[in-house]
């Protein structure tokens, strides 16, 4: 079991890149793909990942994925890492759509609106927006780190 500190930052970015690339990679490819300063920096991260048991080195000196681990706060969607918060935001968006539908129906037939329901709808809207913003920010952070 990996700790969060072990797989974060540039190491995480290298790991995600290799998973996404799907083929054996060398330090130079990693350097270009992840925008690292030198092949030696890339190699250091590759070795770290190998030591964690996530990569394995083949006979040509290239690294391949040995194990695809769960990353905290993310889902693997195929070979791509997507923040869970984005899916949570879509879940709340579904709730929000249903609540707005109810409000629209009640408004169109002149049924009384309950203040509590309006309050809950606004809470759902806030939750949707917050989850979406946080999810996008986390996604961008994983890309930029």
């Amino acid at each position: 079991m990996l700790s969060d500190e072990e797989l974060e930052g540039t190491t995480l970015k290298v790991y995600v890149y290799i998973v996404k690339y799907g083929k054996p990679v060398g330090p130079r490819e990693v350097m270009r793909g992840v925008n690292l300063s030198s092949p030696s920096v890339a190699l250091r991260h590759l070795q770290k990942l190998e030591a964690l048991g996530l990569l394995q080195k083949n006979s040509h000196g290239k690294y391949t994925i040995k194990e695809k681990v769960n990353i905290k706060g993310h889902f693997w969607v195929g070979r791509n890492l997507v923040p869970r918060l984005i899916f949570y935001s879509f879940f709340f968006m579904g709730v929000l759509i249903a609540e707005i539908t109810i409000l629209t129906i009640r408004f169109s037939i002149n049924e009384p609106m309950q203040t509590e329901f309006l309050f809950l709808t606004s809470i759902t809207a806030i939750a949707t927006i917050l989850f979406l913003i946080e999810g996008i920010m986390l996604h961008l952070k994983t890309k930029k780190d």
């Binding site: 889902f75 969607v77 195929g78 070979r79 791509n80 997507v82 984005i86 899916f87 949570y88 879509f90 879940f91 709340f92 968006m93 579904g94 709730v95 929000l96 759509i97 249903a98 609540e99 539908t101 109810i102 129906i105 009640r106 169109s108 037939i109 002149n110 049924e111």
Partner: protein, 247 residues
């Protein structure tokens, strides 16, 4: 491309889960959109006029009032033809019949009825649903039958009609209203409100007619349903009426 497809798919699934999670409150509200279509027509109206001298002992009301007049009572028998145009069983909740010299109905931004009221009265606000304005009212009778009404069945089958009578007697103290009934044209207004059986929303239908009742002595009659050899028979519930052939 694969990423986009799978992320979009995942997002849609999450969205659907969110909607599904609210289904316990969403489904009953969706059912509220179910409505029935009703129709109503004032097919018969009989106004029996009785005048009493206000000086007669027992009918003397206020001798010090210089505006005191003879008492005028109007007994009425107004028949509504209510039709359920929809395919669902309807529950009748309310109905109403009115007669007045001028009637204007505001239904949203639509205004139908009295030209005089339309020109002279500002019915405000004009965009808030169903509103009836009357001037020189002769009769208004309203029945709320949404709860128990002895002997009355609320149900109206799909694509069927039902004749309902409103009867009573009122004092018409408004001289203009009385004169309109005696010598002029009047407006007849009918309204019915109903909802589908089970979940659903109430809907209202109305009709408005500008008629010149024919004179039967002092009484006045508007009839577009019953012929010479026919007569009304009223149900024991005092609301339903049927047409019978005279023997």
């Amino acid at each position: 491309m694969e990423l986009h497809f799978k992320v979009i798919l995942g997002s849609i699934i999450a969205l659907m889960l969110g909607i599904a999670a609210t289904s316990p409150i969403l489904v009953p509200n969706l059912a509220l959109t179910t409505k029935i279509q009703l129709d109503v027509d004032v097919v018969y109206a009989y106004f029996g006029v009785q005048e009493f001298n206000s000086q007669i002992t027992g009918l003397w009301r206020n001798s010090s009032n210089i505006y005191e007049y003879d008492l005028r009572f109007v007994s009425y028998f107004i028949v509504l033809n209510i039709t359920n145009l929809s395919d669902k069983l309807a529950i009748i909740e309310e109905f109403e019949a009115s007669a007045a010299q001028e009637i204007l109905i505001c239904n949203g931004t639509n205004r139908v009825g009295s030209e005089r009221l339309r020109e002279n009265m500002s019915v405000s606000p004009s965009n808030v649903g169903f509103n009836v304005e009357m001037e020189n009212r002769i009769v208004t009778d309203f029945r709320d039958v949404s709860r128990y009404y002895p002997g009355w069945s609320q149900y109206l089958s799909p694509k069927t009609s039902r004749l309902i009578a409103l009867t009573g007697i009122v004092e018409v103290s408004n001289t203009a209203a009385y004169d309109a009934l005696q010598s002029g044209t009047i407006y007849l207004f009918g309204r019915v409100k109903g909802r589908p059986l089970g979940e659903g929303t109430s809907s209202t239908a109305f009709c408005l007619k500008h008629v010149q009742p024919q004179g039967v002595g002092k009484d006045r009659l508007y009839n577009c349903v019953i012929s010479e050899n026919q007569m009304w028979r009223m149900d024991t519930n005092g609301l339903d009426v049927y047409i019978e052939t005279r023997r």
